[in-house]
Symmetry: C2
Subunit: 436 residues, 2 copies
C-alpha cells in the first residue's frame, strides 16, 4: 500500500458543512482518502509515509472538475476568432476536422491536459475524438468522462449509428484505463444535429447501461428558434417530450432557457454546465445562472474547447461565473465565491455521476487535490481564503495537482511526459494542419 | 551608456501599422529604444551589449498600462466581498482606512506592484495614499502616474484644499523619483464627493500646470441619479458645464453614460478607463464599450483596486473587455483581440499623457517591454499571436517585465526587493489591520 501525506495551511474541504481546516493534513492510502483533519490529529504511530507533500503556506482545495471541453481542439486555438458560431463551425472548424490525423489529435489532447493540470483541473468531460482521448489518458492519468460523439443529421450520419451498435467495445475501452479513472458518456451532439430516433436510442441505452449523457443544449438563439419552428416548443421541452431528460443528463450551455425550461431541468434532475467564456466570446449570450441556481438546479462549470474560448483555465470560469451575474443584475450579493467553488468541485462531480468518488475532500473519496502556493502576491492577505481562490488565484499559483493520490503537476513540471518535446510536436503539427 | 538587446520570436509592436516582427530584436540605449526590427538587420559591428535577454520562443509586447488602480488597497483584498458599493465603502473600507498606518501602506504598494509586474504591467495610474506610493516607487522603479486624491464633501474636506495650496511640493515629490518615471495627476475623487469650487480649482490648476486629471465618473446608477437630482443633468454634462473636461482628463468607469455623454467625451478628448472586473463584481453594470469605441473615444483599461476586483491582472481585463461586449451584444465580431491589446498599451499611454514615451515598441520610445514564454501550453499553437496574448496568456506565461530598459521581473523573481520577506510582513500587517 502507498501511503501519502499532503499538508496545507488551509484545507477547503467543500464537504457538506463547507469546513475549512487550519494547519491540516490529508492522508491517502492507494489514492483513497483515509484521513482529513488537523495535522496534530494524526497519531505519531501513523507517521510513516511513502510520499509527503508540504507546500508551506499552501491552500488545498478538491481537484477542479471541467464538465465540458473538447480537449484536442487546442490544435485550432486562435483560428477564426471573430465570426459567428455557425460560420466558425462550418467554414473554419469542420474543414480542419475533416483532415486532422490521429497523431495530431493525440498531441492536442496532451497539451490540453497539460493546460488543465496547470490550472488545477483533475477531472474533465471531453466531447471529441474518442480513441485518441483514451490513448492520451493512458499516458497522463487524469480522471475523465470520455464522450462518444453522436449525430445523424449530417452527411455521414450512419457512421454514428454504427458506433451505438458496438457500444460494448467503448465500454471495454474506458474500462481498459487503469484504476477506473475513465468513464463513458453517450454524446448526442445537439437536437439540431440528431434525429429523434437517435435521441430515443441514446435515452434507452443510457437507462439500460447506466451511462451519463453529454449534450449541447440551448446554446444559441438560433437553436431555440429552430426548435420552435421544427417542434413548436423549446429545446428543453422537446427533449422532455421524448422522455430524454433524467439525472444522468449533463447539458452544456443552457443559455437560452426560460422559467418553464428551468422547472423541467430541475424536475428531471438534469445538470447544467455553465461555460461563460465560450458563450460570451461566440456572442451566444449569458446563461441566467442566478435564476437557475436559486431554483436549485445542479450547475457546474466548463471551459468549452480552446477553439472557442481559447483557454482551458477553469479558475477563470469560476471568477467569471460570479462577476458576470452580478454585473447584469446590478446585485453584488449573489452568487458568491463559495457558490462558484462548489460549482467547480462538488456540483461538477455530481453532474458527471462521480459524486461518490470526488468533488470534496472527505474520507472515503479519491485523493484528487489542488495545492496552491499561498505565499503569492495574489493569495495574500488571508482575509478570505475562498475569495482568494475564486477571485484572485491564477495558474501561476498552482503548486501541485494530484489525481488519485498521484502528483501529475508539480510547479511547472508534468509527470510522465516529456513536456518540452510534446509542445514542440504539437506546435508544428497544428501549423501544418492549417496549411492543409 | 548601457546597451541592451531583447530578442523574441514575435514582436507585436503596437505601432501605427500594428507591425508584427518575426525573429525580432529590440536594442535599448540607456532605456531608450534605438532599434526595432529583424534580428538579422542588426549589423555585426553593433553587436556589443551590456545585457542580452533571449526568451527562445518569446512573444514581446509593449509594457501594459493599468490606468486605474488603488495599489495599496491590496491590504483589504477579500474583505467584504458581497455587498453593494456604498455599503462596502462606508462600512468596510473607510473604517479600515481611518486606522491604516504608513508602513502597511508601503507594503501594500510593494505587493500590488509585484502582482502587476508578474502580469506584465509596466505603468500604472494610482489613486490612493500619495506619500507611500512615492516611497514604494523609489524601491521598485515602475512607471507611474501618482494621483493627488482630493475631495471636500466629506467631514475633513479642508485637508484636501490645503494639499492644493502646496501643489509645488507634490510636483517636486514626483520629480524626485529618478529618470522621470513618475508623473503627477490631480485626483478629484468624484462629483458626489467634490464641491463645484474644488472641481473648478482642479480644472484651473490642470490647465496652468499641464497636469492630467484622474477622476471616477458615472460609475453607478446612483451616481447618475444623484447628479440628475442635484444638477438636473448627467455627471458628464455637469462636468462639461463647468468647463472641466479636456484631453487631460482620464475618467475611470464611465458605465452609466448615454449617447450624448459619449459625444461630449469625444469632443473634449476625454479618455475613458474601462474596469470590467470591478464594475461587474460590485454590481455597478457594464460600460457600453462598443458604442464608445465605435465613436472614436480613447478607451483604456484598469483593474481598479484589489479591494473591489481582487486582482491586478490586466491580462484578464483585456480578455474580459472583449468577451463581455460580445456576449451582451450577441455579436462575436467586435471588439477584437487587437482592440483589447491597443486599449492596454497605446490607448493607456495616451490617456495618461505618456503617448510620446511608451505604449508601443518604436524607436525613440522608452523600453517598457513584456516578454512571454511562447513555449507554453497556453500560447501554442502559433495560429494568431495577438489572439494568444489577449485570450489565452496568463501571468504564468510572463517571463520578463522590463521598465525603462531594466528587468524588474524575471520568471517569478523581482529585482531590488526581498520578495519573500515583503510578502510575510504584508500578510501579517494586513491581518492585524482587520483586528483593529
Amino acid at each position: 500500500m502507498v501511503r501519502s501525506l499532503f499538508k496545507a495551511k488551509y484545507i477547503v474541504t467543500c464537504n457538506g458543512r463547507f469546513d475549512i481546516i487550519r494547519d491540516g493534513a490529508v492522508v491517502a492510502e492507494d489514492g483513497k482518502i483515509a484521513y482529513v483533519g488537523k495535522e496534530v490529529g494524526l497519531g505519531e504511530c501513523q507517521r510513516h509515509f511513502d510520499l509527503v507533500v508540504d507546500e508551506g503556506c499552501g491552500i488545498m482545495i478538491p481537484g477542479l472538475v471541467n464538465c465540458h471541453t473538447h480537449a484536442a481542439m487546442s490544435l485550432y486555438k486562435g483560428v477564426s476568432d471573430d465570426v459567428p458560431l455557425k460560420e466558425w463551425l462550418e467554414e473554419a472548424i469542420w474543414p480542419l476536422e475533416s483532415r486532422v490525423d490521429s497523431t495530431s489529435l493525440l498531441y492536442g489532447n496532451y497539451v490540453a491536459m497539460m493546460e488543465m493540470l496547470s490550472s488545477g483541473t483533475t477531472t474533465f468531460a471531453d466531447f471529441y475524438f474518442f480513441d485518441e482521448l483514451i490513448k492520451a489518458l493512458k499516458v497522463i492519468p487524469m480522471r475523465s468522462i470520455a464522450t462518444l460523439a453522436l449525430m445523424d443529421r449530417v452527411p455521414d450520419g450512419e457512421v454514428y449509428w454504427s458506433r451505438l451498435k458496438k457500444i460494448g467495445a467503448y465500454v471495454d475501452a474506458v474500462g481498459s484505463v487503469k484504476d477506473g479513472l475513465v468513464g463513458l458518456a453517450l454524446g448526442p451532439h445537439a437536437i439540431y444535429s440528431c434525429s429523434e430516433a437517435l435521441l430515443l436510442e441514446v435515452a434507452k441505452l443510457s437507462s439500460g447501461l447506466h451511462l451519463p449523457i453529454h449534450i449541447h443544449l440551448s446554446e444559441t438563439k438560433e437553436e431555440r428558434e429552430l426548435s420552435m419552428k421544427e417542434h413548436g416548443v423549446s429545446p428543453v421541452k422537446y427533449l422532455d417530450s421524448l422522455g430524454f431528460l433524467s439525472e444522468r443528463v449533463f447539458a452544456a450551455h443552457c443559455v437560452h432557457v426560460d422559467d418553464e425550461d428551468v422547472g423541467i431541468l430541475l424536475d428531471r434532475g438534469v445538470s447544467c454546465v455553465h461555460n461563460p467564456s465560450s458563450n460570451l466570446k461566440l456572442g451566444s449570450g449569458i446563461m441566467p445562472l442566478r435564476g437557475i441556481l436559486r431554483r436549485g438546479v445542479n450547475v457546474c462549470l466548463g471551459t468549452d474547447g480552446s477553439a472557442s474560448s481559447n483557454s482551458l483555465n477553469i479558475l477563470a470560469e469560476m471568477r467569471l461565473a460570479v462577476l458576470l451575474q452580478r454585473g447584469i443584475s446590478f446585485d453584488p450579493t449573489f452568487p458568491t465565491a463559495k457558490d462558484a467553488l462548489l460549482m467547480a468541485t462538488r456540483n461538477g462531480a455530481r453532474a458527471l455521476g462521480l459524486g461518490d468518488r470526488v468533488g470534496s475532500i472527505e474520507v472515503g473519496k479519491r485523493a484528487d487535490l489542488v495545492l496552491f502556493d499561498g505565499r503569492s502576491p495574489r493569495l495574500l492577505p488571508e482575509h478570505d481564503i475562498v475569495s482568494n481562490v475564486v477571485y484572485s488565484s491564477q495558474p501561476a499559483d498552482v503548486a501541485y495537482t494530484i489525481v488519485d493520490g498521484r502528483i501529475l503537476y508539480d510547479h511547472g513540471r508534468f509527470a510522465g511526459i516529456d513536456s518540452g518535446s510534446v509542445l514542440d510536436i504539437f506546435g508544428e503539427r497544428a501549423l501544418k494542419l492549417l496549411e492543409g
